[in-house]
């Protein structure tokens, strides 16, 4: 999908340069119009469907921020703000712009900005196109058919094992689990109220409800196991698997291999105190097999302790829901991409850039730190996507709770966190990082059976004159060496 663009820039050459750049990205962008004055641009804006505005802060008749005030820059409009002077980063962020560019910027940098914009737009449109439309359909369906209670129906072929009328039929098999997310979000928005029907374990990776549960060898993970009762013969204290007591000559009679007596009666002269598992693959004997669930859709094999429980509910419409169904209100669900805050690199980059500029003016110490969780992928292998996100979010919370409010943290990717310590030298930053590391290790160990998190911290002072992007890539690119 191409984004409809508008350029607002009083500087003619700059305007031309931008329109040139937009042409070069014609697969993603479509230039609808450009304007040299704010007033003129406003008129244009209201007459056209605009997705993305390239806005120079320094306009002739107003500032870029005033322009944004005028159009009441809502979430639907992406704005890429740029300026010559480059000291508007914080303000720009407060306006919720998509990106902020300092002139002169490279083509690569420009590309990054428009990628961000198209990504955000894609999310928003997906959202509108799918979740909200489906929910509206469901609400209308319930209202027009006078359905009091939207109950899940057990269906063998469904991915969840249940379908919701109207909702599941509109979802592809791969995304049937979205029905739960939509209904859950609707409940949170007070459009529906849910009543418990059933709880289910879904595959952590693909949310499929059909899994085989079976014991597996804790050493080689094979499920080719043989179980055998152990027999304790009281008179001679021999203990061994039942097969030890099978006699070759006399079928049906059990003979003690130690004292050669016949076993008479269970509970009198022998008992079966436990069961032994024998792995046919690695020949290990054990009593405590791992119980694992193998998804018959995606094949992932997960320890049952790591499965997460989902709840299936039946739903009733609230008055607010009825209003939506009648079209008095519009549906607007939030919160599907839960990691956007945790991984908001652009904000981090902006603040870092600001810090760099501050360093140029005053003699300050600012430190940037990176912690990489080298063995986190091992945990991710065991858990599904939603749990991975939960874990990253939890780690993020631990970090933000434990760094001073003036400082900043962000996940660069699922296993790397960046931290910015304003007005702190490396020594101070190091002690904070160490403290956080200890807490995070404890958190992971507590939640994942003593899993030892392997952390790799790197702490460096922020140098004036460098670009934020360079500093970030330098810190994060080193990972190839490891």
């Amino acid at each position: 999908m191409r984004l409809n663009c508008l350029i607002v820039d009083s500087d003619k050459s700059s305007k031309e340069l931008l329109s040139d750049l937009i042409q070069r990205n014609s697969s993603q962008l479509k230039l609808i119009g450009s304007s040299e004055s704010g007033r003129e641009a406003l008129g244009f804006f209201y007459r056209h469907q605009i997705d993305l505005i390239f806005l120079n802060v320094e306009l002739e008749d107003m500032s870029g921020f005033e322009f944004m005030d005028e159009i009441d820059a809502s979430e639907d409009i992406q704005t890429i703000l740029y300026s010559e002077k480059g000291d508007y980063a914080l303000q720009a962020f407060e306006y919720g712009v998509t990106d902020y560019l300092k002139k002169p910027f490279s083509y690569a940098r420009f590309n990054k900005a428009i990628n961000r914009a198209s990504e955000v737009v894609r999310n928003v449109t997906d959202f509108e196109d799918l979740e909200n439309i489906l929910l509206e359909k469901v609400l209308k369906y319930m209202y027009t058919r006078e359905i009091d209670l939207l109950s899940p129906i057990a269906v063998r072929d469904a991915k969840l094992g249940f379908i919701y009328p109207m909702l599941s039929t509109n979802l592809e098999f791969d995304e049937e689990q979205k029905a739960l997310k939509i209904l859950n979000a609707a409940e949170q928005e007070d459009l529906l109220t849910g009543e418990f029907v059933e709880s289910l374990y879904l595959c952590n990776t693909c949310s499929n409800a059909y899994m085989h549960f079976r014991e597996s060898c804790p050493f080689c993970s094979s499920t080719n196991l043989r179980t055998e009762d152990l027999i304790h013969h009281f008179p001679c204290a021999y203990v061994g698997p039942a097969s030890d007591f099978e006699s070759e000559n006399e079928r049906g009679n059990m003979v003690c291999p130690k004292c050669s007596r016949y076993l008479k009666h269970i509970g009198v002269d022998y008992d079966k105190p436990s069961v032994m598992y024998n792995c046919m693959n690695c020949d290990h004997s054990f009593q405590d097999p791992l119980v694992k669930a193998k998804c018959n859709n995606c094949g992932s094999d997960t320890r049952v302790e790591h499965l997460t429980k989902s709840t299936i509910k039946a739903y009733r419409m609230t008055e607010l829901g009825e209003d939506v169904a009648m079209g008095k209100q519009t549906v607007r669900l939030k919160g599907f991409d839960e990691l956007s805050e945790v991984m908001d690199m652009s904000y981090f980059r902006k603040i870092l850039q600001q810090e760099i500029e501050r360093l140029e003016e005053a003699d300050l110490h600012t430190t940037i730190a990176r912690i990489r969780f080298n063995n986190l992928p091992e945990l991710f292998k065991e858990t599904g996507e939603s749990m991975q996100k939960d874990l990253v979010r939890e780690l993020y919370e631990v970090i933000t709770e434990n760094i001073p409010v003036s400082d900043l943290a962000v996940f660069n990717d699922m296993i790397t966190v960046l931290m910015l310590f304003a007005d702190k030298d490396t020594g101070k930053a190091e002690s904070i990082v160490n403290e956080i590391t200890v807490i995070m290790k404890e958190l992971v160990a507590d939640n994942f059976h003593g899993f030892e998190l392997d952390t790799d911290p790197k702490i460096e002072p922020v140098r004036s004159g460098a670009s934020a992007q360079d500093i970030i890539s330098e810190l994060t690119e080193n990972r190839q060496e490891v």
Partner: protein, 431 residues
């Protein structure tokens, strides 16, 4: 005082020996003279067999046999961590740990399973219903892969070279089927009761068993820490229903023609009862096994048939005579003294205390002579007068009581140390 001296002056040497005949006839030759003789013999032998030891040690390190360490027990979970830790620090590392949980009702299962998951123990085997210590040990044996089996109590911890040292004798002599480790008291300082047991362990285990081993009549490989050739254990089919199953097992192995050996330098620390009441209960259990196993189960040791073995005969006879016969003969001795010397009983008591204190001191000197940490042990000399009452009276009374009860009531079959189901079967079959 004056009267005391004149009484003893009047008695003279002859009278002295007459009064303390029990000491001079039995105890002096056995516990002082024999021990010193054995010590001299041991030191002599050690000097000349040193080269053998070095060779055996080399052979051990070359072959590096897998050792299975079996740790049976009930409600021992709290000890697992310390035990595993002490094993992790061993100089000899080719071993597997097999914890056997005999129907614990505490957190043992949780702790054991965790150790198993972490790979710190090879097997954690658990029976939901208790089967008794013998069955637990047999279960461990059944699932062990080692050539050498070490049986170890969960409340023991091994000194870092204990495992390496206990394995050496197997390479000195192929006929050695079982090697006992040296036991020391861990909670030496807890109470006067544990201090006295510390001395007792030094005397009866460190020195006593060293002597027995040197003479070839070692009759017990302690369950707390002992090593066995797996082949020997398999030939005797493991442990039989207790109590005192370690002594019984050792005897069974000896009967097959294996030698038993005591390794003085391989040390395990064990916790001992802290009060005399608890100690008495423990010793009653130990003492009963003498009757049950020596008199009943293994009575064929006294038969002069083709299986007769003079060493086994001596080993058991020594045990029965000095533990069983002398325990009861002592009452006769007391009766003799009380009736013959009723007037001067106080003088005899005081002199007796002095005599036995001196005797104990002389006995304990062997412990010091053998020890590498001589100065640490010197302070135990001050407990010698108390030791006179400890072994002379306390242990003797406990033993008498245990022997009588077992002889008359066969009370070991009712001991809750074994589950009722196994005792009942053992009783019916008279084993």
């Amino acid at each position: 005082m004056q009267e005391f001296l004149s009484f003893w002056h009047q008695q003279g040497t002859e009278g002295f020996v007459r009064i303390f005949w029990f000491y001079f006839v039995f105890e002096l030759p056995r516990y002082v003279l024999l021990d010193y003789f054995v010590l001299a013999y041991f030191l002599f032998k050690r000097k000349f067999s040193n080269q053998d030891r070095v060779e055996a040690h080399k052979k051990l390190l070359k072959e590096m046999p897998l050792v299975s360490i079996i740790v049976p027990g009930k409600d021992e979970g709290s000890n697992y961590y310390r035990l595993v830790k002490s094993l992790e620090e061993q100089t000899y590392q080719n071993f597997e740990i097999i914890l056997v949980d005999d129907g614990s009702t505490d957190d043992s299962e949780l702790i054991g399973r965790k150790l198993e998951r972490e790979g710190k123990v090879e097997h954690f085997l658990r029976n939901e219903v208790r089967g008794g210590k013998a069955s637990a040990a047999n279960m461990g044996l059944r699932f062990s892969d080692g050539e050498i089996i070490v049986h170890c109590d969960a409340d023991c911890s091994l000194k870092p070279d204990a495992l390496e040292k206990i394995l050496v004798p197997f390479y000195m002599d192929e006929k050695i089927g079982a090697v006992g480790g040296n036991l020391e008291v861990r909670n030496k300082e807890d109470s006067i009761c544990t201090a006295l047991q510390t001395i007792e362990y030094y005397l009866t285990i460190s020195v006593g068993r060293l002597g027995a081993s040197t003479l070839g009549i070692l009759r017990i490989i302690s369950g707390a820490f002992g090593a066995f050739r797996k082949e020997a254990l398999q030939r005797v089919s493991g442990w039989d229903v207790g109590p005192g199953l370690d002594g019984d097992l050792t005897l069974k192995i000896r009967k097959l023609g294996y030698k038993t050996y005591f390794e003085y330098s391989s040390v395990a620390l064990t916790s001992v009862p802290t009060t005399f009441a608890k100690l008495a209960r423990q010793r009653v259990r130990w003492s009963r096994s003498l009757i049950r196993f020596r008199f009943r189960k293994h009575k064929n040791i006294f038969f002069l048939d083709q299986n007769f073995d003079i060493m086994n005969f001596l080993s058991i006879t020594e045990n029965i005579f000095f533990n069983f016969v002398l325990t009861f003969l002592w009452y006769f001795y007391i009766f003799d003294i009380v009736t013959s010397f009723s007037q001067s009983i106080m003088y005899i008591l005081i002199m007796g205390l002095a005599l036995y204190t001196v005797s104990k001191t002389v006995e304990f000197t062997i412990v010091i002579a053998l020890s590498d940490e001589k100065w640490e042990k010197v302070r135990y000399y001050m407990f010698m007068p108390a030791m006179v009452f400890y072994t002379g009276n306390f242990i003797r009374l406990v033993r008498s009581w245990a022997y009588l009860k077992e002889l008359v009531f066969r009370s070991s079959y009712k001991d809750s140390w074994n589950p009722a189901k196994t005792s009942k079967q053992a009783r019916q079959l008279d084993i």
